[in-house]
């Protein structure tokens, strides 16, 4: 016999619903946000999903370069300034590794100061690789839409997905990348791209990302010339995309 009152699923709730989630949430398993109850907020400046390609072409060395590049970016003073420059001085970040199947490597983590940014960097360095073969970007974006964004612990002024990778989607998805992108954009999400121009697909990848991946308000591409250039590119990208927000809240004369 169940004695607890069960809450009903809201009618009409869907992809757009996560944008308006008003209350903080506590859930289990992989999607548990790494946020102590005392640190939960009513709103943050940015919700940032780092979607990192870990398909077969990404060797262990290339994987390490990507993770180290992201970790160092969060240790960088200019990135930290950008993260903390918004009116709420806070950003939620999560890391999703994607290949055949996407997986959350670092759950939603709140950055409110330099110390929490450095702690996030340490967690990213320790992230376990989810090994697989194919470049299933459509599946990754669908998973982010369906299983990551709804668990954002507090509403964000901006929701950004950072997609990085060295190849086109090669999983013949039932729902093309463009269609998933359009749904996310319609829900108010911005998707930025960091194509890594190295290997067989280097010549066409930037154009493919431009036409099929990025979208939403102020969306942009920032290619890396190879895996060794990833660290520079991701750092520049963080400052750029988070600064969009900061700029909006600066006094007009400061622009």
């Amino acid at each position: 016999m169940r004695t607890e009152e069960a809450r009903s699923i809201p009618r009409g709730a869907g992809l757009a619903a996560f944008i308006s989630i008003g209350s903080a949430v506590i859930v289990g398993c992989l999607l548990v946000p790494a946020v102590p109850a005392s640190a939960q907020r009513e709103m943050v400046d940015t919700a940032l999903v780092l979607a990192v390609d870990v398909s077969g072409s990404v060797t262990p060395e290339r994987f390490a370069l990507q993770m180290e590049g992201i970790a160092r970016a969060f240790e960088d003073a200019s990135v930290q300034r950008a993260v903390l420059s918004g009116p709420h001085r806070s950003t939620f970040v999560t890391l999703v590794e994607w290949s055949n199947r996407p997986a959350v490597s670092v759950p939603w983590t709140l950055i409110t100061d330099r110390e929490s940014a450095r702690a996030l960097a340490a967690r990213i360095r320790e992230a376990r690789r989810v090994d697989d073969q194919f470049t299933c970007m459509s599946a990754a974006l669908q998973m982010i839409a369906g299983k990551v964004l709804p668990f954002l612990p507090a509403p964000a002024v901006r929701t950004i997905i950072d997609v990085s990778g060295d190849g086109h989607d090669n999983c013949n998805p039932a729902k093309p990348v463009d269609a998933v992108r359009d749904e996310l954009v319609a829900a108010g999400v911005t998707i930025n791209g960091l194509p890594i121009l190295e290997g067989e697909e280097a010549d066409t990848l930037e154009g493919w990302y431009r036409n099929h991946v990025i979208g939403g308000q102020n969306a942009f591409l920032l290619p890396a010339s190879g895996f060794r250039d990833f660290g520079r590119a991701i750092r520049a990208k963080f400052v750029l995309e988070i600064s969009f927000l900061a700029r909006r809240f600066l006094p007009r004369s400061a622009n």
Binding site: V25, V27, P150
Partner: protein, 252 residues
Amino acid sequence: MWRVLLLLVIMVLFSGASAVDRRVSLGEVSTALARSSPANPANFEGLDLSYLDLSGLDFRRANLRGANLYGADLSDCDLSHADLSHADLDHALIIRTNFTGADLSDVSMYAAVTTSSLQISGREAPILAGANLEGARIVARLSQANLSGANLKGVQMGADRRLLRTNLFNDLSGSDLTAADLSHADLREVRLAFARLVGAKLLGANLAHSDLFHADLTAADLTGADLSDANLAQAILKDTRGLGSRVQSGAN
């Protein structure tokens, strides 16, 4: 007059069908889970969640009573203490799914997938410890699964003529059924080799043609069980009750 009545009946039938089988999206499911808490678990009663990739989600204590989970991917889900009674789990993926203490009474679990490869691995088996599977209809390879303390009273796992024409079969070999209640269960033709049935209740169970090779039936109660043509070779029968004269030669 009768036309009006007929119309009313049709309207009632259709409105009922839509209420029972309302289709929900993955985003709706996640949103409901995100808004739930241990005190206010999510409610998916009677909803259609078929074919959704729900892998890795946390459904602890959720109400999934009568839900349609046909073909859904429930791999790595935590469904402990969830109410899944009367749910449809046919062809669902239940790899490493945690059903500890869940209410699975009267579920249909036909051709549920419990492994990601042809090789059976205990690490991929669903966890069904303490689950209530009373009256469930199951066709699945639950080899090496943990079913200790589970209520399997009247469970239907027996191979009927139709099932025997397929490549599907029930496999409980190597599973842990310690202290499980299998009273009046239909376990015809079921593979139970090396299963741990210590202290299990098998009163009136139908074990005809089952394979109990090297099964540990220590202190199990087989009173009234049908063991005709069951393979009890090397089975451990210490303090086993209700065997009578039905034990085949070769049992310990």
